[in-house]
């Protein structure tokens, strides 16, 4: 029982990180139909920037803020340089473009920060034990901050005009333009959100799960799976999908085999997508002929 609780708790905090990455996928996909393969790199980059800032003497909080701001900036620049100029954005083009950015960012991190994995200083070091379940303070921070950020993003989409206009672009691009919403601005804004949320995921995860130049790959893949579980266009779905994936992974690692941990996400992706017809996903409604 204690084992189960321990695994569930660990799974939730891991899942909260996936949830944040997943929100980034959702933010961009809903507006432009682009799956941003660099989403995981946003998180890795934020972790590495924060680590190196702390290493050069900056206070932890300042380092975290610096990391989040600079990654948000990177996301915005990426949108302007790579997404904006393309007139005919097909699935194939968008995948290759964002793959290019992802590869470039990876290599940049390798060149600047070297090949080793490191962990950021936790916000609060140490932990405690509650009824046999050992809990690290950082895990509580992850859950708390991820919860607040998710709620904030959700509130933004549901309650603010800017958020509603982003949803309008996703649902009715033509009508949105007719009422004066700029798709280019919406796309830029969606990358800003994705960069910020991804960066927060990165700095939160780094103390526990470590960050290296290539840790964005699996993180991105899992964030995508989480987003897909939730239908790829819903913030709430992305959060639930992230938590579910995190818990399933730790349960697999705990009860079956650690090695299979990374296989769970993939299997889940296949099962969900194949078993449930395309109709439940907003974008893939039956083709009009």
């Amino acid at each position: 029982m204690t084992d189960l609780l321990q695994l569930l708790f660990a799974g939730l905090s891991q899942g909260a990180v996936y949830a944040l990455v997943a929100i980034g996928f959702v933010a961009i996909f809903t507006v432009s139909g682009v799956i941003n393969l660099a989403q995981g790199e946003f998180a890795a980059l934020a972790g590495l920037v924060a680590i190196s800032a702390v290493g050069s003497g900056l206070p932890l909080l300042a380092a975290v803020v610096l990391a989040v701001v600079s990654v948000a900036l990177v996301a915005v620049i990426m949108e302007r340089l790579v997404i904006f100029p393309v007139k005919r954005m097909t699935t194939l083009v968008s995948l290759i473009l964002t793959l290019g950015v992802s590869t470039g960012l990876k290599a940049l991190m390798l060149l600047v920060y070297g090949p080793n994995a490191e962990g950021l200083t936790p916000l609060t070091p140490g932990g405690f034990s509650l009824g046999g379940v050992s809990i690290r303070y950082q895990e509580l921070w992850i859950l708390l901050i991820a919860g607040v950020v998710s709620l904030a993003v959700y509130w933004f989409y549901e309650r603010t005009l800017a958020g509603k206009s982003l949803r309008a672009c996703a649902e009715q691009p033509v009508a949105a333009r007719l009422v004066g919403i700029s798709l280019t601005k919406a796309s830029l804004l969606s990358f800003l959100i994705a960069g910020t949320v991804g960066a927060i995921a990165g700095v939160l995860a780094s103390p526990l799960y470590f960050t290296s130049w290539e840790s964005g790959l699996t993180l991105g893949l899992k964030g995508f799976v989480a987003a897909t579980l939730g239908g790829l266009i819903s913030v709430r779905g992305a959060v639930l999908g992230g938590l579910l994936l995190g818990v399933l992974e730790t349960l697999t690692a705990g009860y079956i085999s650690t090695g299979l941990r990374d296989a769970v996400a993939f299997l889940l992706l296949i099962i969900v997508l194949v078993a449930r017809p395309a109709g439940i996903f907003g974008r893939t409604a039956e083709a009009r002929v």
């Binding site: 290759i96 290019g100 950015v101 590869t103 470039g104 390798l110 992706l269």
Partner: protein, 632 residues
């Protein structure tokens, strides 16, 4: 009319010659390299040749099936590991081992592809990425495969007492393999299979309606693509002598993708050129970057890959192939396109009742062909089609009319398999087809055209119609690859397609791109394409729209002749007068409900129909009585 000679096969033949030139140039360059280059450059060339095979497979997958794989290295690794195990643990010799390695990989690809290829676009790409990750994980976890350190001691191949152990020797061993790979790939692209897949990329629903089993073909290309990767993997294992989980690494998949994209997606020799360019870049950056940035270690060349991938997609989405074709076109000067005057079509003046496309085995006139029972479609709260019944017999023309939004096209979509009904049954020539794919409908002997055209944009008019012959020809992937048995059939297919085009007055446009034709003629291309299937039942969705008066009369005459030949025709049409003059029976839909069915005369005088069309609001009872009278 005769002043313009038909340019038979000009377009296709030119592109074929372009391919042959491309392959010949690539072959010469490949063979020239060992004569001029140092041994370290040839070593780079060896890797380029190995990776070219994997990139070629990926290029086929992207170009033909329109799908991106981010896990090509996974299949590369499966091939390499199988080879390594067979050679080191079971002491097989290289050649039989590689045959088994390719077979194992293809089986794996089939097992992976069957679930994966139900996914599309983004999902498929990410799923293949996941597949690559899994292969890495499995290789790392497996003690049998040597875990992280992998398998050592794979010897250089020996054949006829000759050991291929120097870069030059190995390079020259690989060149013919790559050329063979190129030749097979090119044949497949040019074949019936390649044509069908190209059509799928342009309009999946139209290709399916002509009988193309998209899923099956996609799986085939996926397996083929994996086969190329596995050949590369076996060559890699022997050259390096050791194989470890890095072979399934994501950066390697990215490298294959870059090679294919740089060369030009779907251009077969482009993948080889791309492979040499990328390997050259890889080698250069690995030397250059540590000099510029002391202390840089690891896969630093990725920075170049990332930048190159992005810039190509933005500035040169067709890759080097685009540069090459662009340059050739400029050298040749812009070829004068035939003038675009929109002449009316002039068919041979033949009497209305001379049968057309009659053939043996066609159901006798009056035999029920299509039976629709209780067909219903709800979109959310809206019922687009409600409990629709219709029976169509061989040799009759049935029209489906009704105001805009009455549900006519939705009914068509359900009958032809493009849309799954909420309820109801559709039986075509004894086969239940509702909720299945359009190709099932086509196999049962029926096809359709589309209201908003679904022309295959990247094909010529002739190419469009040839896709229609898909079910009337049979050469598969293997036959196509080996070309010989398929040649004859291709000629027959082309001939019958041309005959149909002549019949519809499109003969002179045969070799133009179909999208360059005026709207009305594109409709005729769709009809010719559908007729190429030689169907027993033809569904036409607004065939008259966009046609001139003469063209409409010619089309009506054609439909009558088809009817005389025994074909059943159902058409949705807005031109009510044309329809009443043409059809044997007319069904009227309003708000998804069939309010009348009968001969044109009966329908013309049906009060419910008049109300629906003229907006007269009859008293409720009269309307109900009328609707009942119209329903036999």
């Amino acid at each position: 009319m005769t002043r313009r000679l038909p340019r038979i096969g000009a377009h296709r033949r030119r592109s074929r010659r372009g391919d042959v030139i491309g392959i010949a140039v690539v072959a010469l360059l490949m063979l020239a390299l060992p004569l001029v280059a140092s041994s370290s450059v040839i070593n780079v060339g060896v890797y380029a040749l190995i990776y070219a095979l994997a990139a070629l497979g990926l290029s086929l997958l992207m170009g033909l099936a329109g799908q991106v794989s981010l896990g090509q290295a996974g299949f590369f690794a499966i091939g390499a590991y199988t080879q390594a195990v067979l050679v080191t643990k079971y002491e097989w010799s290289g050649l039989p081992a590689s045959v088994l390695a390719v077979a194992v990989t293809m089986t794996a690809a089939l097992l992976v592809g069957l679930p994966l290829l139900r996914l599309r676009g983004h999902y498929l790409a990410l799923a293949t990425l996941g597949f690559g990750v899994i292969v890495t994980v499995l290789a790392t976890e497996s003690d049998f495969l040597g875990a992280t350190s992998g398998i050592f001691g794979i010897t250089k191949p020996e054949m006829n007492g000759r050991t291929y152990n120097s870069p030059t020797e190995y390079y020259l061993l690989l060149v013919p393999v790559v050329l063979l790979g190129l030749w097979l790939a090119r044949n497949i692209v040019e074949s019936r299979i390649g044509r069908a897949l190209g059509a799928v990329n342009d309009s999946e629903v139209a290709a399916e309606s002509l009988g193309v089993d998209t899923f099956r073909l996609r799986v085939q290309v996926f397996v083929l693509s994996a086969a190329y990767a596995s050949v590369a993997g076996t060559a890699f294992a022997h050259w390096l002598g050791v194989i470890n989980p890095n072979a399934a690494n994501f950066p390697l998949s990215v490298k294959f993708l870059l090679m294919a994209v740089l060369g030009g997606v779907g251009s077969v020799y482009g993948a080889v050129v791309g492979a040499f360019a990328v390997e050259g870049l890889d080698d250069g950056l690995r030397r250059l970057i540590p000099e510029l940035l002391p202390g840089a270690v690891g896969e630093v060349q990725l920075i170049g890959f990332g930048i190159l991938l992005t810039t190509i997609m933005i500035f040169l989405p067709g890759g080097l192939h685009q540069l090459w074709t662009g340059a050739r076109r400029r050298m040749a000067g812009s070829a004068p396109e035939p003038d675009d005057d929109e002449e009316e079509i002039h068919l041979e003046p033949v009497a209305d009742d001379v049968p057309l496309l009659a053939r043996e085995g066609r159901p006798a006139p009056g035999t029920p062909l299509l039976e629709v029972r209780g067909l219903t479609k709800r979109f959310g709260g809206v019922t687009a089609v409600d409990d629709f019944d219709l029976t169509v017999a061989a040799g009759e023309i049935v029209a489906l009319i009704g105001p805009n939004g009455a549900g006519k096209t939705t009914a068509f979509n359900m009958i032809s398999g493009a849309v799954t009904p909420t309820a109801g049954e559709v039986t075509m020539a004894g086969t239940r087809v509702e909720g299945r794919k359009p190709h099932v409908f086509a196999r049962a002997g029926a096809t359709r055209t589309f209201q908003n055209l679904q022309i295959f944009a990247s094909a010529t008019v002739l190419g469009n119609v040839m896709v229609g012959r898909h079910l009337r020809s049979r050469s598969g992937m293997l036959g196509a690859a080996l070309v010989l048995p398929a040649r004859r059939e291709e000629r027959a297919v082309e001939e019958s397609a041309r005959e149909l085009l002549d019949l519809l007055g499109l003969g002179e446009d045969a070799d133009r791109l179909a999208v360059d034709l005026p709207f009305g003629r594109q409709r005729l291309v769709e009809i010719a394409r559908a007729l190429a299937l030689d169907p027993d039942l033809l569904l036409l969705d607004e065939p008259m729209a966009g046609l001139s008066g003469t063209e409409r009369r010619e089309l009506a005459r054609l439909l009558r002749r088809l009817r005389a030949g025994g074909m059943a025709i159902v058409l949705v049409e807005h031109d009510v007068e044309a329809v009443l003059a043409l059809a044997d029976r007319v069904a009227v839909l309003e708000d998804g409900v069939r309010i009348a069915l009968g001969t044109p005369d009966e329908v013309r005088h049906d009060p419910a129909v008049l109300a629906a069309y003229l907006g007269v609001e009859p008293e409720d009872e009269a309307a109900t009585a009328g609707a009942e009278a119209g329903t036999p």
